[in-house]
């Protein structure tokens, strides 16, 4: 019960007038930063870090955490309405959010994203409150072999789906892995795949560049080609009654995705080197795998929106855990928050919970308040976002193009990235015409750069012995499950060869 007392004090701190204003401003700013393609929570927190010197440290971290939270909600907005991922964490949301919006159900997609974000955030907050110090130990027990095993599992969920064309899925994953290998090798420091000696390739292919190219430009070309500009203009209307109905439908159809996303997201979030983007993609994969209607994924399935959106909010709370308890950032955004804490004169790490009770519990209390604020503000803005969709596609297409280019440039301020966005956009369009699934490539470019170094680190640890992935207590079971999942489709491929026995399958 001591924890509840501390939490109560924390919520009271978060509700102090100054902190409450900071939460409201932070969440709103975050919502728009997240919704702007190219700008994500990392940029938002980095840009606004200096102005936090005007308030005490507790207010400062509450403000930045609110931006982080708001951006997780906001990222879904442009993913759904425009098909451009608002932030890398919201890429998985485009998979089903965009198709649902194209069916004239944009309001359902946006409401699902908001509700799932709220559920993910709330579940994560409860786990965080109850088990933070305990889970910090779990995070530490994940060394390179465990992380590699987890990455293998993530790939397996995408291969083992069974509904897509398996060889094409594997090709797509391999293509993503090759793109992920471009740039400097972490282990040896040697440059790899610097195509045509263009220096731009030295820094590797930015994930957001790929995502904006594939989903912004590629999706726009696809829509133009499919409809010849004749997009049937469903004019979605928003009423309070409609929103209530949507909320009910989102909960009914998406509860499973929300559950998976909330739990998986938190767990992936607390692991080092992961963060919200892999969490969202993995949640999507698992939701699809465990769904009774996997064939609907990618065509506007509510679970396909709920899982990644619950996961990215849950993971953003989760990644605060190693930051506060160990002083280790769980995501790029928390890395900047950590820098902020040093500047405010706090030492993040194992002693923070004991020495800075007000700071820590004020922050945890603010998670709860921010989450409610973000849900309400997001719901309030949904009619505005829906309004964007009423524009005819002949106007929307150029808007998407311009936003994609600006978004790609804003992230790195490098013209090279713009050319890459256009190349990826055209490439994605061609691959889609040939019926290649693109989501696995996107997953591979996120997870490949985590999987490859951890594989090599593990093999260095074991002096080259691959049994390290089976003999360690945590890595072992994960590896075995991953291998079974990868082999499942192989078995399915074998089955149709004897149609006589089980008839029409």
């Amino acid at each position: 019960m001591e924890i509840l007392g501390l939490l109560f004090d924390g919520v009271l701190i978060a509700l102090q007038p100054l902190n409450l204003v900071l939460i409201l401003v932070g969440v709103t700013l975050g919502l728009f930063i997240g919704a702007m393609p190219g700008l994500g929570s990392v940029n938002g927190v980095a840009i606004l870090l200096p102005i936090t010197f005007l308030v005490p440290p507790t207010g400062a971290i509450i403000f930045l955490a609110a931006i982080y939270y708001g951006a997780m909600y906001g990222g879904a907005i442009s993913s759904i309405t425009l098909g451009i991922p608002g932030a890398s964490t919201a890429v998985a949301t485009t998979f089903d959010g965009r198709p649902l919006a194209m069916q004239g159900r944009a309001s359902l997609a946006l409401v699902t994203a908001a509700v799932a974000s709220f559920v993910g955030g709330t579940v994560a907050n409860i786990i965080f409150t109850g088990f933070a110090p305990l889970l910090a130990g779990v995070a530490l027990s994940f060394g390179p072999p465990e992380i590699f095993a987890l990455m293998l599992l993530a790939f397996a969920t995408f291969v083992g789906l069974g509904t897509d064309d398996i060889p094409k899925t594997i090709f797509s994953i391999c293509f993503g892995l090759v793109l992920g290998a471009i740039g400097f090798d972490q282990i040896s420091g040697a440059p790899r795949l610097v195509l045509f000696d263009i220096n731009g390739f030295l820094q590797g292919i930015g994930f957001l560049v790929l995502a904006i190219g594939v989903y912004g430009i590629g999706e726009m070309l696809w829509t133009i080609e499919q409809t010849r500009g004749e997009v049937e203009n469903t004019t979605p209307k928003m009423t309070a009654k409609g929103m209530v109905a949507d909320t009910a439908e989102a909960t009914r159809k998406g509860w499973k995705g929300m559950g998976i996303g909330s739990l998986l997201g938190f767990f992936v979030g607390i692991l080092p080197a992961a963060g919200a983007t892999p969490a969202a993609l993995m949640a999507y994969g698992v939701a699809k795998m465990t769904s009774r209607r996997p064939q609907n994924f990618g065509r506007g399935e509510v679970d396909g929106i709920a899982a990644p959106e619950a996961a990215n909010n849950s993971a953003s709370t989760g990644s605060m855990l190693p930051m506060l308890t160990l002083g280790i950032p769980g995501s790029p955004t928390t890395a900047i928050l950590l820098g902020g804490m040093v500047i405010w004169g706090l030492t993040p790490g194992p002693r923070l919970f004991i020495e800075e009770t007000e700071f820590v519990w004020g922050l945890i209390g603010s998670f709860y308040v921010s989450n409610v604020a973000a849900l309400l503000i997001n719901l309030a803005f949904i009619p505005v976002f829906i309004w964007m969709l009423r524009m005819p596609f002949t106007i929307l297409a150029p808007v998407i193009f311009v936003l994609s280019v600006i978004g790609g440039y804003a992230a790195t301020r490098d013209m090279f990235d713009i050319w890459m966005i256009l190349v990826f956009g055209l490439g994605a369009f061609v691959l889609r015409r040939l019926d290649y699934p693109l989501a696995p490539a996107v997953l591979a470019i996120v997870l490949g750069p985590i999987a490859e170094p951890t594989l090599r680190q593990s093999l260095l640890l074991s002096q080259g012995d691959p049994t390290i992935f089976f003999t360690r207590p945590i890595a072992g079971p994960i590896t075995v499950v991953a291998i079974i999942l990868i082999l499942l489709p192989a078995l399915k491929l074998l089955r149709p060869r004897k149609p006589g026995r089980d008839g029409a399958a």
């Binding site: 409201l24 401003v25 994940f142 420091g189 590797g204 160990l326 002083g327 280790i328 928390t334 002096q463």
Partner: protein
């Protein structure tokens, strides 16, 4: 839609606050647009923490008439940052926060065509020493005991550090050479990840900077054994230096600010004045002390001379590493 309007207003106010430049009264050259403050490391590591600290001090005292905008370019051990800064179209508004990869990366990647002497010296903010750490559960409390343990493991002693050819691997290669040790080296992408995996006992020892290991040391998880500094570190007075053990070796990570090649002398003078004020601020002096950095203030000519000696020293160290 009253909520919409109100929140939109607050949003606008906050945005205006964030971008309003503060007028300063310095004489002579002044920046005309936001200053690109490039960091040659990813977010979260030691170099990034320091860059953001410097930025915050400059911000707090309104030292620059246009804001410093941090820009992490950590790719390729800093190669990404070096290329972009030396190729900038606006050298007067581009400065770089450096670490030792400023010396090692151009040596290891000669094809980049980077000559560090073309950069403009601005300020040497301090040097960050290296310390040998083990986990408290290993039971090791002295450097001699550590040597014994490593020798007894026949090459199965695992140490972690930053990428091959970077600072940590240089220090560990020195240790292996000087004491004839057989150590398995695991490269990580940053000092924070290295410290974390020592805390989780995935690896057995590290040579983290004190700033990176501080939290775990204070919690009693890490034990320092040896310092690679010239003098004993005030924060760890009982820990011997490698010099005391009879080796002519010390190694530290530079925390310096340099200007882009081709920066005008007026602009360089402006930034030197700014970073002198940062250096002398109470905050920076406090940071040097709490994070165990050593001061190493130099003027522009001394910095150039320091670069020359560091490039030569690193050429030899890398040659010894087989790079």
């Amino acid at each position: 839609m009253s909520i919409t309007k109100r929140t939109f207003l607050t949003l606008t106010c906050a945005a205006t606050l964030a971008v309003t430049p503060v007028v300063s009264f310095a004489q002579g050259w002044e920046p005309r647009r936001p200053i690109d403050f490039v960091i040659m490391a990813g977010p979260g590591g030691g170099a990034d923490q320091i860059a953001r600290f410097i930025q915050s001090v400059a911000e707090r005292y309104d030292l620059t008439s246009r804001p410093l905008v941090p820009n992490n370019q950590g790719g390729g051990s800093g190669a990404e940052a070096l290329l972009s800064v030396s190729g900038t179209s606006d050298p007067d508004h581009t400065i770089l926060v450096t670490l030792n990869s400023f010396f090692t990366t151009p040596l290891r990647q000669a094809n980049l065509g980077i000559d560090v002497q073309t950069f403009t010296p601005i300020a040497m903010m301090g040097v960050d020493p290296f310390v040998l750490w083990v986990h408290v559960d290993s039971g090791i409390t002295s450097f001699d005991q550590w040597l014994e343990t490593v020798r007894g493991m026949n090459g199965e002693y695992v140490m972690g550090g930053t990428g091959t050819g970077q600072e940590d691997s240089i220090v560990i290669a020195f240790l292996s050479g000087a004491y004839d040790l057989d150590i398995t080296y695991i490269p990580y992408d940053g000092g924070g990840a290295v410290a974390r995996d020592l805390a989780g006992q995935q690896i057995m020892a590290t040579v983290n900077n004190p700033a990176e290991a501080k939290g775990f040391y204070e919690a009693g998880d890490f034990v320092p054994l040896l310092a690679f500094s010239d003098e004993r570190l005030p924060a760890f007075p009982d820990i011997p230096t490698v010099r005391e053990l009879g080796h002519d070796f010390s190694y530290a990570n530079q925390r310096a600010v340099v200007g882009a090649p081709g920066m005008s002398e007026e602009a360089a003078e402006y930034y030197r004045a700014v970073f002198t004020q940062v250096y002398e601020s109470e905050e920076w002096q406090g940071y040097l002390e709490s994070e165990s950095l050593s001061p190493l203030w130099m003027n522009a000519d001394e910095q150039r001379a320091y670069w020359t000696t560091q490039v030569e020293a690193h050429r030899e160290l890398l040659a010894a590493l087989g790079q």
